[in-house]
């Protein structure tokens, strides 16, 4: 157990070395939330309902998306493919420490750090906009937390899968970029997905993307009935299992062709 804690502490320390880039990145996140909040506040001065969202709902939506963005989607593993291709992971492979545990801890350290900043940011936004955020009941909230955890796991597998491209090729920016583009639109970050045409929504709902933020928020806002919850939970679990198995399979293959370059 101590080895995990020591690594966690070290990752955290390491993450704080480059404070400037950390602050700029957080500032970007903060400004993006600030902008969304302002835009939607303006929209709601003339309407009290937009796309089926009341003003409070929409504000809650934006607060939540900022939160989930940092907790589910942000990942310290974005450069993983490069680290594999350059042979940097050799260090971890040589030690009696499971490499996936290593990545998981790196992620946790990163997320704890994000959350820490996020609490401050949220506090400031709170003072500025004084939103009315109503929490769901205990049962829904518990499912919300579980879904958040599920989203986090799912994103972890996705990051590992993208990273594994580094076993074979240095050119991973293409697919990664495409993924981010799709993610921007389909995780509900830019706008709620339910303003899209029905047919498009149907397609998006069978992909993993809405499980990376959007559905968690829908759940929180009380916009899903128990049928929906069950339905989505099943798809969610299926995706997690599928992605988990794929990750294992691909990594087994990848490690066999790993070339440990770098010297």
């Amino acid at each position: 157990m101590t080895k995990y804690l020591t690594l966690l502490k070290l990752s955290w320390q390491n993450g704080l070395v480059y404070r400037l880039s950390l602050f700029t990145w957080r500032l970007r996140q903060f400004l993006s939330s600030l902008m969304s909040l302002t835009v939607w506040t303006v929209i709601f001065t003339s309407n009290n309902n937009a796309f089926g969202y009341s003003q409070d709902n929409m504000i809650t939506y934006i607060f939540l998306i900022a939160f989930l963005q940092s907790i589910i989607i942000a990942s310290s593993l974005n450069g993983l493919a490069q680290r594999i291709y350059s042979g940097e992971i050799s260090n971890h492979l040589l030690k009696p420490f499971n490499i996936f545990a290593f990545f998981a801890i790196e992620e946790i350290a990163d997320k704890v750090k994000n959350t820490f900043f996020l609490i401050f940011e949220t506090f400031i936004l709170f003072l500025l906009f004084k939103p009315l955020i109503s929490f769901p009941d205990f049962k829904i909230f518990s499912i919300f937390l579980i879904w958040c955890f599920g989203g986090l796991i799912m994103n972890f597998f996705i990051s590992l899968l993208f990273g594994s491209l580094g076993f074979w090729s240095p050119q991973v920016w293409g697919p990664k970029f495409l993924f981010f583009m799709i993610l921007e639109f389909t995780a509900g970050k830019l706008f709620p997905l339910d303003i899209l045409p029905k047919i498009l929504q149907k397609i998006i709902y069978i992909t993993p993307f809405p499980y990376l933020s959007f559905l968690q928020i829908q759940l929180f806002l009380g916009r899903l009935n128990s049928n929906d919850i069950l339905h989505h939970s099943l798809i969610f679990i299926t995706w997690i299992i599928f992605l988990g198995l794929s990750t294992k399979y691909i990594w087994d293959k990848g490690l066999r062709s790993y070339e440990a370059t770098g010297q």
């Binding site: 320390q13 070395v17 050799s90």
Partner: protein, 332 residues
Amino acid sequence: MKKTVIKIENLKKYFKVYKKEPGLIGSIKSLWKRKYETVKAVDDISFEITQGEIVGFIGQNGAGKTTTLKMLSGLLYPTAGKIDVLGFRPWDRKPAFQKQFSLVMGQKNQLWWDLPAIESFYLNKAIYEIPDKEFDITLEKLATILDVKDILQIQVRKLSLGQRMKCEIIAALLHSPKVLFLDEPTIGLDVVMQKILRDFIKIYNKEFGATIILTSHYMGDVKELCERVIIIDKGSKIFDGKLDDIINKYARNKILSFTLGNGTSENDLKEYGEIKSFENQRATLIVPRIQATQIASKILNKFKIIDLNIEEASIEAVIREIFGDKNNKQEK
């Protein structure tokens, strides 16, 4: 009878490299049709090493030394053949195995770049589950021998190459590995540091009965540390035996280099040995090994010499001599 610690049989590692035809047309063609070529980095090598041996692993650039060490460490999956280290198959990467060896590469770093070295040491302590007391004693000992006590608190990125290398060595040895793979550990170090490191490797080997494989392009390292050497070339083993045997048997020449006072021409030197270079009064001669000192003193007597150096032929030269390459005299 000493225990066999490392045993490899018919080990092979082939890499598939993608070959691009030159030019624009080649680039376009390669979009749908790629040509691959097989590089036989290690091609059917076998050997056994017993406990406590220090074996020098030598060969020219690209011979397959690093590749072999990476397979012995479980980083690379062999194309064919068997490896047994301490009774484990390295590729399985079992923690019980990983706790007993270390791979040190001259240019690779395991230390956390942005943190002081001591932090990485603590992490290793946790990962290798080293008891507090043992850790303190080992660290104290290593830091004293390598003289790094006052730099352990400094960010690794700010250390000099040699200081960093020392810290790397400490990080690799904290868990007192029984088997050590050293890949060019003295690369880039000054002569004083090289000496310290060599002495240190010797002590470590004696004290822990550690089994060590060492690669180096410095004959000095190998000469001082290894009784036995394995020479590989183009992925195959071409020599396995006592170091003395190669030097006596194959290294027939030594290299004399010196700077002359003015007024001596290249021609005057011809009778003393093969002239390898002569430029700005600086000369390099290749002379028979046994006569090296004799010839040196003759030259010192006859000419005005500013400085003089007698060197062993390089590992590369020895290897080439083993091959019986006729051209070696011209090249060095």
